[in-house]
């Protein structure tokens, strides 16, 4: 199991895994080497230093959880349907959420900050575009997008903070319906 030789990508994948379930601090050379059954000797052949590993993990994350999702959803022409698909691809994705939280936790880190800023802007942009297509003004569309996105971010944070006690699973669908009703633009077409 596992090739005998490791490539740069193997390290990057392992780094993203470590990020998701141990936070940024877990993106550490020696622990990951142990997990891969290798040593630092291998790592420093493929990467200059730890920062390079962090950046590789970040790039992977941005691609998988933002760029790829947008690429897949963009072809959907109906904006409401597109948003529904986004919700479906976003809600209740524990792995994605864990990496998300880990990065939010280090938003001021020099390597994390630019990636996070770009990803956040791109996502809100994507949502706002849909609302605008539904007939909202640019300003109103942006407000709805910001509300939807921040409500999502805030909810995963608060849910983790309270171990899910804030909003029991049984109440979740009702809350989501409430939220959708509140954000939905008035009439539109």
């Amino acid at each position: 199991m596992g090739r005998t030789r490791l490539g740069r990508d193997d390290w990057a994948d392992a780094a993203l895994d470590a990020l998701a379930d141990g936070g940024l601090a877990a993106v550490a050379v020696e622990p990951i080497a142990a997990r891969l059954g290798a040593t630092k000797g291998s790592f420093y052949w493929h990467f200059a230093n730890r920062d390079a590993l962090v950046e590789a993990a970040l790039a992977r994350w941005a691609d998988r959880h933002t760029d790829a999702v947008i690429r897949e959803l963009d072809p959907i022409t109906d904006p409401a349907e597109r948003l529904a698909a986004l919700l479906d691809a976003t809600i209740g994705r524990p792995v994605a959420n864990r990496a998300e939280l880990a990065l939010l936790a280090h938003a001021d880190h020099p390597a994390v900050a630019p990636v996070l800023a770009a990803v956040t802007a791109r996502r809100v942009e994507f949502i706002a575009a849909a609302y605008q297509q539904m007939g909202c003004t640019a300003r109103d569309a942006r407000h709805r997008a910001v509300l939807g996105y921040t409500a999502h971010i805030g909810l995963i944070q608060a849910q983790r903070a309270t171990a899910g006690a804030l909003l029991p699973d049984a109440d979740r669908p009702a809350y989501l319906r409430f939220l959708a009703g509140v954000i939905r633009p008035p009439a539109g077409d």
Copy 2:
């Protein structure tokens, strides 16, 4: 300046400061000792270990930014007015927000988790009570409270992530009005 002898409270205050502007990792004995112009010798007289210092900082935070605020606002009888006062005491408080973010960043830390859970529950409870007093059902009041609170948490996160570019200061009042309009219960009285 600065007494020659330090007390337990001096260390706890310094720890809360360090937490606010350097995160949980900054609640470290030696750096804080240096900032206080003292050494570890002093610290280990007043505290058993670093964890005790973290807990002291946490307790201070919970009291100052939740218990004290609620104590002060609870006497306001009109629920709408009470919520307005809460908003006023919460929005745009950079120091409070920084500590907030630092703790959210370590929600899974064994010492942080229980404090954060209690604080979150207490705050949402406080907001929901106001909406219920305005005539909402318990369930609806809770939904509005969760939305309001998570939108707030999410916004400070996203604003930090984008260095404030997500919602420019000029657009902030308009967004807040939009949000208030959306959360406000239908008729009430």
